[in-house]
């Protein structure tokens, strides 16, 4: 009995020691020791080394209701000496913007802040499905505080947001706070626009005809495509396309190039990406339709980006003649077309309608005779909060580490029908980057609330600038805001014209609108020749002068009057400053001499108002924030001299 007692008492001591050892043997000790070594190499002093304690370090973020112990191992995050150190000691690149005291780690990165072992902290684990965000999807957290409008700081998130809108995701998926807009062309009277055989081919694989199209591939069978085509174009057009009264091929070619269609449209991949590629367009549409379209695109589709050119009917006939002749799919054989048409004619209209309803085509298109039943897909309002158990990976073998919500979403974006056969979501053929952007955006759709004191909107919200009256009509007609920006609304292809009235002279504007040219030598000429009338330009200019002005520029009128800008001495001083002291010619050209980084300054006095020149020189970044022109802080004398010189720099004939 006593012997048993002795044995047992030693056994229990053994187990006790085992427990102590197990508790002492914490996984972070290894990292803390290694960090201390590293610190010694980086030249940490005695006192600093003594400060490295072998303990759990935590940030208690009371307001965010988080406890982050990441710095138990990530010891160098705040120390700039560890920039090149390996993980987990690397310096955090963003420490000055997001202080750890205020933000901690997991609010941006995810993961389990409470944990102090690698596996538990980074996840996913059995008891913490929210794994640390991989760098690809990291920006989803930005929207917690910054909202969605951070183009500069979170480009991936911003791209995802834009894509979500542009690809018409909202057509099938509800997201609270986002308006459901039908992003694709309405399919009323589609029979008058496109050819049956084209639609049949298009439905089977839109990317085949137009690789950059946003229309997804529904992976339809031949029969399904035929049925749907049959439904969309019930009456086969009898009229022979050749009946169209054509014009001059050569003249059409010239108009096409003069009008700079290539700014927006590409032809076999060369050109802009605002409009569709037109290389095979005459295999798609009827010439009559094309004629009507060019004549007034906005009448056919009010939300088109295409400007209404002031072409005459003959101009358009010539253009159409050229397009029909030139831009045709050469690989397409006539008998194949005939076969396709016959196949469609024998298809089932009723089934076509069913298919259109099934695939929710009405989410993006307006379709005659089909009722829009609203969103047929999952509500994505809080998709970022989804629990992993709701994500059906189907029969795919997925390891536990890969079983995360963003991973599921990413794979869904890449291959929507991956997890289960017979799903309805079509294939958008997203690239890896696009799928990442969308996943990032979707992950940002969360109901997690951070305290209001953390909210900080960095980007500008889309402006609701929408001028009325004559000016508004012109703006709308010529689709100026597709490329130009006014008061925060518009595209970024061309200069911001929010204070154009303070900038340019009337005469120059009139000339420019007639024959636009590129102001910067290295740019391709892009401004289309819109055939805009003189009276319209006058309307434009008067609006510019009254509304699109900057008081800071207008205030200079008085002081400009006092400047002696015609004085040859002042001009020659300016010339000296221009070429010698400031070497402006490094970037700017005058009379074809000089650098090509900045705009050509020849005849700049004819283009720009003198006040503007003075204003811009005194602070180039005041209006154009991204201007790369250096701020020189010219003296008044220098300012006067430079302005005088620039005004004198006329084109040498």
């Amino acid at each position: 009995m006593k012997r048993i007692f002795v044995i047992l008492s030693f056994l229990i001591l053994l187990f006790y020691i085992w427990q102590i050892w197990k508790d002492y043997n914490r996984p972070y000790l290894v990292y803390q020791k290694e960090f201390k070594e590293l610190l010694k190499q980086k030249g940490g002093g005695e006192a600093e080394l003594d400060d490295v304690k072998f303990v759990v370090r935590q940030r208690w973020l009371e307001k965010l209701n988080r406890v982050d112990r990441c710095e138990t191992c990530h010891l160098g995050v705040e120390d700039p000496r560890f920039v090149d150190a390996p993980q987990p000691y690397t310096t955090h690149p963003d420490a000055d913007k997001h202080s750890f005291e205020r933000f901690g780690c997991t609010v941006c990165h995810g993961g389990q802040g409470l944990a102090t072992s690698v596996e538990d902290a980074h996840g996913p684990t059995e008891d913490w499905y929210k794994a640390i965000s991989s760098d690809n999807f990291l920006e989803n957290s930005c929207s917690k505080c910054h909202g969605d409008f951070i183009e500069q700081e979170a480009p991936v998130l911003a791209k995802g947001r834009t894509m979500f809108k542009e690809y018409g995701c909202r057509g099938c998926h509800n997201v609270q706070g986002l308006e459901r807009v039908k992003v694709a062309p309405p399919l009323v009277k589609i029979g008058e626009k496109v050819k049956i055989d084209w639609l049949y081919r298009w439905l089977q694989n839109p990317q085949m005809y137009l690789p950059e199209t946003k229309m997804p591939n529904f992976q339809l069978t031949k029969e399904e495509a035929a049925d749907m085509t049959r439904f969309l174009i019930p009456r086969v057009r009898i009229k022979d396309p050749d009946n169209f009264e054509g014009g001059s091929y050569a003249r059409g070619k010239r108009i096409l190039s003069e009008s700079r269609c290539v700014t927006c449209h590409s032809f076999e991949g060369k050109g802009g990406d605002i409009g569709p590629d037109l290389a095979k367009v005459s295999s798609k549409v009827y010439p009559e339709w094309l004629f009507e379209w060019i004549k007034n695109p906005q009448a056919m589709r009010p939300d088109t980006l295409m400007p209404a050119y002031g072409f005459s009917d003959q101009d358009i006939r010539d253009l159409v003649a050229f397009i029909v002749e030139e831009y045709i799919d050469l690989e397409l054989e006539d008998d194949v077309i005939q076969q396709n048409i016959q196949f469609v004619e024998s298809a089932n209209v009723g089934r076509g309608k069913e298919l259109i309803e099934k695939y929710g085509c009405t989410g993006c298109h307006e379709i005659e005779g089909v009722e829009d039943r609203g969103e047929i897909g999952l509500d994505l309002t809080a998709i970022g909060d989804s629990h992993i158990s709701r994500m059906d990976f189907g029969m795919i073998e997925v390891s536990h580490e890969e079983r995360t919500v963003p991973n599921w979403l990413y794979n869904k974006m890449k291959n929507p029908r991956l997890f289960k056969a017979g799903l309805k979501m079509p294939d958008f053929t997203f690239s890896d980057l696009e799928a990442e952007a969308l996943t990032t955006y979707l992950m940002s759709r969360s109901k997690e609330v951070v305290p209001a004191s953390y909210h900080l909107h960095l980007g500008e919200r889309p402006s609701d600038y929408n001028p009325q009256g004559e000016f508004g009509e012109i703006l709308d007609n010529y689709r100026c805001l597709v490329c130009h920006t006014i008061n925060g609304r518009g595209g970024d292809l061309a200069p911001d014209i929010s204070i154009e009235g303070s900038r340019v002279k009337e005469k120059w504007l009139k000339d420019f609108m007639k024959t636009p040219y590129a102001i910067r030598p290295i740019l391709v000429e892009r401004m289309p020749r819109l055939k805009i009338s003189d009276s319209e330009v006058e309307t434009l200019y008067s609006y510019f002068r009254t509304t699109l002005v900057d008081d800071r520029v207008e205030k200079l009128t008085g002081s400009v009057k006092e400047m002696s800008l015609k004085d040859p001495e002042v001009i020659s001083l300016g010339k000296d400053l221009y070429y010698n002291k400031y070497a402006c010619n490094a970037c700017h050209q005058v009379n074809l001499k000089g650098g090509t980084i900045g705009p050509d300054l020849t005849s700049v006095g004819e283009r720009l108002r003198t006040e503007w020149i003075v204003y811009y020189l005194s602070d180039p970044k005041a209006f154009l924030k991204r201007s790369i022109e250096p701020v020189y802080d010219f003296t008044e004398k220098e300012l006067e001299a430079l302005t005088a010189f620039l005004l004198s720099a006329k084109e040498k004939k």
Binding site: M1, I4, F5, F15, W18, H387, R390, D392, F393, M395
Partner: protein, 180 residues
């Protein structure tokens, strides 16, 4: 003669206390009808055994704690129901019973009646034969009944624990559960 309260008290005590510890003597206590050799001192025979048993228990619990961590799942989330949702293992028998019929019978009636019957057992079994002996033949019926109760109780727990999958469907332990 008047009797003081104090005196009365001591009188009463004397009446109540019919024995007192007078003296400790060497030798064995003369137990009536028993042979002295059948008895032994509690110390050390029983107490050392008890101490050893305590050590065994400690060793077992500490050993379990070294090798197996207590389970912890995700934080409680009323919007995500695990499928199947299961009660603690010792209630899985009841949960299994519940899945068979009206909840009142499985959930309340059976356990309540079970406990009452258990408490009443000594008043039903009034025999004197075989007390303190394992599986005495005279108690065959009782033992069989009780064994049935135990086997059913444990069997139901085993079924509930290992053979119930999503939506409380039946699966053999080696059968995979459908993922959704």
């Amino acid at each position: 003669m008047p009797v003081s309260d104090e005196q009365r008290m001591s009188e009463q005590e004397k009446d109540l206390k019919s024995y007192g510890l007078m003296n400790l003597v060497e030798g064995e206590t003369p137990h009536v009808g028993k042979e002295p050799e059948e008895m032994t001192t509690t110390w050390p025979h029983l107490l050392v055994k008890e101490l050893n048993l305590f050590y065994l228990v400690m060793i077992f619990i500490m050993g379990m704690s070294v090798f197996f961590d207590a389970p912890l799942e995700e934080m409680a989330n009323p919007s995500v129901t695990p499928n199947p949702a299961k009660a603690p293992w010792y209630f899985l028998g009841l949960q299994e019973l519940l899945s068979w019929g009206p909840p009142f019978w499985g959930g309340i009636f059976v356990p309540t009646v079970g406990v009452i019957i258990l408490i009443l057992v000594p008043y039903i079994d009034r025999s004197r034969v075989g007390t303190g002996l394992w599986f005495h033949p005279s108690r065959r019926l009782y033992n069989i009944l009780f064994t049935v109760f135990v086997v059913v109780f444990i069997g139901l727990i085993i079924v509930g624990t290992f053979m119930r999958g999503p939506i409380w469907g039946f699966y053999w332990p080696w059968e995979p559960w459908p993922t959704h």
